[in-house]
């Protein structure tokens, strides 16, 4: 209950951002929410299942591209959005064979899958607009009603991300969530208890792809353009960093991480010439100095528990 109040308070505080009247902050906060949701999808795999995927940027991008293509092709939002999420889920089902492996193998294989998606985005020009991407994506509208400016879009994003966070919180404390934790802790024991663990990891992977897909949909609508930058490896890598950096294993962690990373990208970058070095140092510092328990695998942190 306390957690719910905290979330409500944060949502309320964020709702005041458009009142500052500065679209820079509105736009940046929106990006933090969107990439935070992407980080949630990665965090789900890291903390609940114990696998680190490097292809969630591909789910993110495929959903964003689908929305872009359909919306600019005249489809209504009510059809474009489900189609986009379905596209991400389908890709998740295809890439899901990677859960047959584990550990390092899983990381490397998902990385290669992500690169495959990127190479399609840049070279299949007729469909994806190539390097230029797809522009002029309208704001979403249901039955003619929808946001008409950045501030209104902000509230749409806030509401949807908030909803996804609640859904997520429910999933990780569900029966299924508990069985995933069991797999993460001791897969051989889960097998000995009779569970089909690979199937469960597969389902978790697809759930993760759906969350990444929703983030991709929001990304397309908020940015109003999509380019191959959305599918780059660094999107997946930085989403992982956001998840770890945020740390606590709560739903808020990934958003905290997203705040720091987006802050470096968009605010610190204006002050420090070699800021990618700083980004690298953040990666290193997170690994070395943040409590080692923050990684779900070492099992030192208190997790969200029933």
């Amino acid at each position: 209950m306390g957690r719910l109040i905290l979330l409500a308070a944060i949502a309320l505080a964020l709702a005041t951002v458009p009142m500052l009247g500065n679209p820079f902050w509105v736009g940046l906060t929106m990006q933090v929410l969107v990439f935070g949701l992407l980080a949630v999808s990665v965090d789900f795999m890291i903390r609940q299942v114990g696998l680190f995927p490097l292809c969630n940027g591909a789910f993110f991008a495929v959903a964003a591209y689908t929305v872009a293509m359909l919306e600019t092709g005249g489809w209504p939002t009510v059809a474009a959005v489900p189609a986009a999420i379905a596209a991400a889920a389908l890709m998740g089902m295809a890439f899901g064979i990677s859960v047959r492996t584990g550990g390092v193998y899983f990381i490397l294989i998902t990385l290669a899958f992500g690169q495959m998606a990127l190479s399609v985005a840049t070279s299949w020009t007729a469909l994806t607009g190539g390097d230029n991407g797809i522009t002029n994506i309208p704001y979403p509208a249901v039955a003619g009603v929808g946001p008409t400016d950045l501030s209104q879009m902000f509230f749409v994003v806030l509401a949807l991300v908030g909803l996804m966070v609640l859904v997520y919180a429910r999933i990780i404390t569900s029966q299924f969530g508990l069985t995933l934790n069991g797999i993460r802790d001791a897969e051989t024991r889960m097998v000995a208890l009779g569970y089909r663990t690979v199937t469960r990891k597969y389902v978790a992977f697809v759930i993760s792809s759906v969350f990444a897909g929703v983030a991709g949909v929001l990304y397309a609508y908020t940015n109003q353009f999509v380019s191959p930058a959305a599918a780059s490896l660094l999107v997946s890598v930085e989403a992982g960093l956001m998840a770890i950096l945020g740390g606590s294993g709560t739903v808020i962690g990934p958003f905290l991480g997203a705040t720091v990373i987006m802050g470096i990208r968009n605010i610190v970058s204006a002050m420090v010439p070699g800021w990618p070095i700083l980004m690298g140092l953040v990666f290193i510092a997170v690994v070395l100095f943040l409590p080692r328990g923050l990684v779900g695998l070492t099992g030192r942190i208190k997790r969200a528990r029933p």
């Binding site: 193998y105 990381i107 690994v287 070395l288 990684v295």
Partner: protein
């Protein structure tokens, strides 16, 4: 037609030779110490740039290759001792850490050498084409690279399979604790293997920089290819690195020739199918 096939075959081999040099170090490090070091791409890049600098100063290509290799040995020693050991074998942390190291190294290289593509000057004795039977012209440099790749592969294989040290490394790959129980100084062994891997990565940067050029983001381009090599071949296996390099090199050259639009799929598609059938790769061990 046969002319083109011969040419593409050689092209595949020359890329395979380069990839083998990079991937064999990666795979050995992983096999022995379970360290996944994504900074290998950055090692390739920084080794290439430093080697280039030495070639420019001394005029000796060979010195440049050695210097590129040795400088990365030093870098890797520092990185390993101060940073990687602190990840305590957690692959997630290792991946994040070594990607962070990649950012730092690549951006530093960018600040020093700038963003324009640079090419390591080829030595005089490797310039120009060789003429092969059937009137096939092939660059002497690439031809020598293939020879070097084969030589290093043979040497590594012999070290790995035929020498006492190789036997210990293989035992270490299989069961580290047992090797330690045998009273082998495993720390020294690790240091040697790490040094060898780092040397190969740095030297391959100089060798690759002489025909693929060095440029920002080269670290990722080459790392992805090397990762596909080890995924296909199987982590921790020298034979796997050989097979994977050949596969990736040949697929890349024939794919670009026959099906240029689908070159990306040609590389990743077979990899996905292989994973479905054999998740541990061609020569990897089930885990």
């Amino acid at each position: 037609m046969t002319h083109s096939i011969a040419l593409q075959f050689l092209n595949g081999l020359s890329l395979a030779a380069l990839l083998f040099l990079l991937a064999s170090g990666f795979t050995l490090t992983f096999g022995l110490a379970r360290v996944v070091n994504m900074a290998h791409g950055a090692y390739y890049l920084i080794g290439g740039y430093l080697g280039l600098q030495v070639v420019v100063w001394t005029g000796s290509f060979s010195l440049g290759v050695v210097a590129g290799g040795l400088s990365v040995v030093a870098i890797n020693f520092a990185v390993d001792r101060t940073l990687i050991t602190r990840t305590k074998g957690d692959p997630l942390l290792q991946v994040l850490l070594t990607i962070g190291i990649t950012y730092v190294i690549a951006e530093t290289a960018l600040l020093i050498w700038g963003g324009d593509p640079m090419r390591v000057p080829q030595p005089d004795w490797a310039r120009g084409p060789v003429v092969l039977p059937g009137d096939v012209f092939y660059p002497r440099y690439r031809f020598l690279l293939i020879v070097l790749g084969l030589a290093v592969a043979a040497l590594l294989w012999a070290l790995y399979r035929l020498t006492p040290m190789g036997a210990i490394v293989r035992a270490g790959v299989d069961d580290r604790e047992m090797t330690e129980a045998l009273g082998v100084n495993i720390t020294l062994l690790f240091t040697l293997v790490f040094a060898l891997a780092a040397f190969l990565a740095g030297a391959s940067g100089v060798l690759g920089g002489a025909f693929l050029t060095l440029y920002p983001h080269a670290e990722w381009d080459i790392l992805i290819l090397a990762l596909v090599v080890v995924i296909i071949g199987g982590l921790g296996s020298i034979e796997g690195a050989m097979a994977g390099s050949l596969f990736v090199g040949l697929i890349d050259s024939f794919g670009r020739w026959l099906l240029p639009e689908a070159a990306g799929f040609m590389l990743f598609g077979p990899m996905a199918v292989l994973l479905l059938l054999r998740p541990q790769g061609l020569f990897g061990r089930a885990h």
